[in-house]
Amino acid sequence: MNRISSVVRMHLKDRLGWFMLPWIILGSSFVVNLGIAAFVEEPITTGGLASIYIYMLVGGIVSLVQTYPFAIGFTVRRQDYLIGTLATMTGISVYSAIVLVLLGAIEKETSWGVDLSFFHLNYLSDGNLLAQWWVHFGIMLSMLVGGFFISSIHRKFGKNGMFAFFIAVSLILSVAIFIVSANDGWDAIGRWLKDHPPTAAELSAGMLLLSVIFGFASHLLLRKAAV
């Protein structure tokens, strides 16, 4: 019997959390925007799509809180837990991205009859269907694994460790911004971006790379995390 697949099953038992809630939340955002678009003459573009991404970030955080003590308590190997969890998150990203691309395709044809851009957005939906899927997949997976990584910090080092981490991140960012400003670098960065505009698909590839780093970092954090 494969314990990694047991871990996947353990996650997927939570149908409410993985298959219903994300769409209920995205759906309610969509319905509100649909209502607004129906009353407004001009075409409407909204960022309501972000709701599902934020849900996935939270989902990543919560999944560790809910399932790690359960699985390790029932003597699951940490490595199996991590691989099973990342596999589950990859699967959820694959299927959610497919649904989003399909909804985007419908929207492109119909605009839902009210000139609403909710799923099919400039820039994000620039490429062909596969490119669009790739963009959704990359963002979704990095949100899930990013949330999981944040939760791993909490599991290993507690609340204070998490604060320390975020303080360190903001310090590094501040220093970086200061260095760029002190050297009048913003113009140069702006020019570079103008000359080499990254496509959404390229950004997504970057996000996926980030997911891999988050995944590996979570492994290091959970390796010796007690229950």
Partner: protein, 298 residues
């Protein structure tokens, strides 16, 4: 090799305290062990280390002959039921049983569902909404139905009434007879489980203070009951651990075996000899350990 757990010099330090100090013992296959001691004595920490959920500061720990950490050959044969076991919020009782079935290779589904009936658990109810007793019952069912070669119950019956607890003991003994395995019961309800135990380990203040066959242990102390003066006379020179009196009657408990001579003397004095409960013995030994510690400190 018949030892399924071998612990040598196991120590666990937290930042400001020593939870487990230089503990060594072995568990043999197919026995029921009692891991006894006061709350906070270090029992749970030891069990966490055996199941690789916490990590020793020093010392050696072998389970089924191997280090348990990240080792599926060991971990898949372990089942550790603890009072603080967490379950996902959205899980129902039936979900826990389904997943437990995939985690534990020896799982017996029929047995699990028979136990659900015995404990009258609502299968479709969410874990979040279970009462404390029902939550404990789920743990007990998982522990029994897992049939893991080493099954550890850590205070498994918080919130369970006496009827449910005796149901647990009955099912445990029945199933143990048919499917021998090693079972560790950690509890402070010592009297209740004492008849189940074949071997007793007592932990106090992070140290192992007793490691003894339960039968042997029962003979190590005795109680005599009778007229106060005669009882006192009989107890002279013995190591008294407990004394009770009521009117002209006294009951005195002391360490040490009674040989034929002693029994004859007791009979002549008209005293009755009564067995000593395991609980009394453990309480006394814990106290004595405390005393030794203080003496050393002085």
């Amino acid at each position: 090799m018949n030892n399924i757990v071998e612990i040598t010099g196991l120590t666990k330090k937290y930042r400001d305290q020593i939870a487990v100090h230089n503990v060594s013992f072995a568990l043999e296959a197919n026995k029921i062990y009692g891991l006894l001691g006061r709350n906070g004595a270090g029992k749970t920490t030891i069990m966490h280390m055996i199941t690789a959920q916490a990590f020793p500061t020093s010392g050696e720990l072998k389970v089924f002959g191997e280090a348990p950490y990240e080792n599926n050959r060991v971990l898949s044969q372990l089942c550790f039921i603890k009072e603080s076991q967490k379950y996902p919020d959205n899980y129902r009782v039936v979900d826990v049983l389904d997943i437990a079935e995939t985690f534990f290779p020896n799982w017996d589904r029929e047995f699990a569902y028979a136990l659900v009936k015995d404990f009258q658990l609502p299968l479709k109810r969410r874990m979040k909404r279970l009462s404390r007793g029902m939550l404990s019952a789920v743990g007990i069912i998982v522990g029994l139905a897992s049939r893991a070669m080493l099954t550890i119950f850590d205070e498994p019956y918080l919130g369970l009434d006496a009827v449910a607890r005796s149901l647990f003991y009955d099912r445990l003994l029945e199933d143990y007879a048919e499917n021998p395995r090693t079972i560790v019961l950690s509890t402070h309800l010592i009297d209740e489980v004492s008849k189940l135990l074949e071997h007793v380990l007592v932990i106090d203040n992070g140290e192992l203070i007793l490691n003894e066959d339960a039968e042997e242990l029962r003979g190590q102390a005795s109680t005599v009951v009778g007229a106060a003066a005669k009882t006192e006379a009989f107890a002279i020179g013995r190591q008294i651990i407990h004394r009770e009196s009521m009117g002209g009657l006294a009951s005195i408990t002391f360490m040490g075996r009674l040989d034929a001579e002693d029994r004859k003397q007791a009979e002549q004095l008209g005293l009755e000899i009564a067995p000593v409960s395991l609980q009394q013995l453990v309480v006394h030994l814990s106290k004595r350990n405390q005393g030794n510690k203080e003496a050393i400190a002085l």
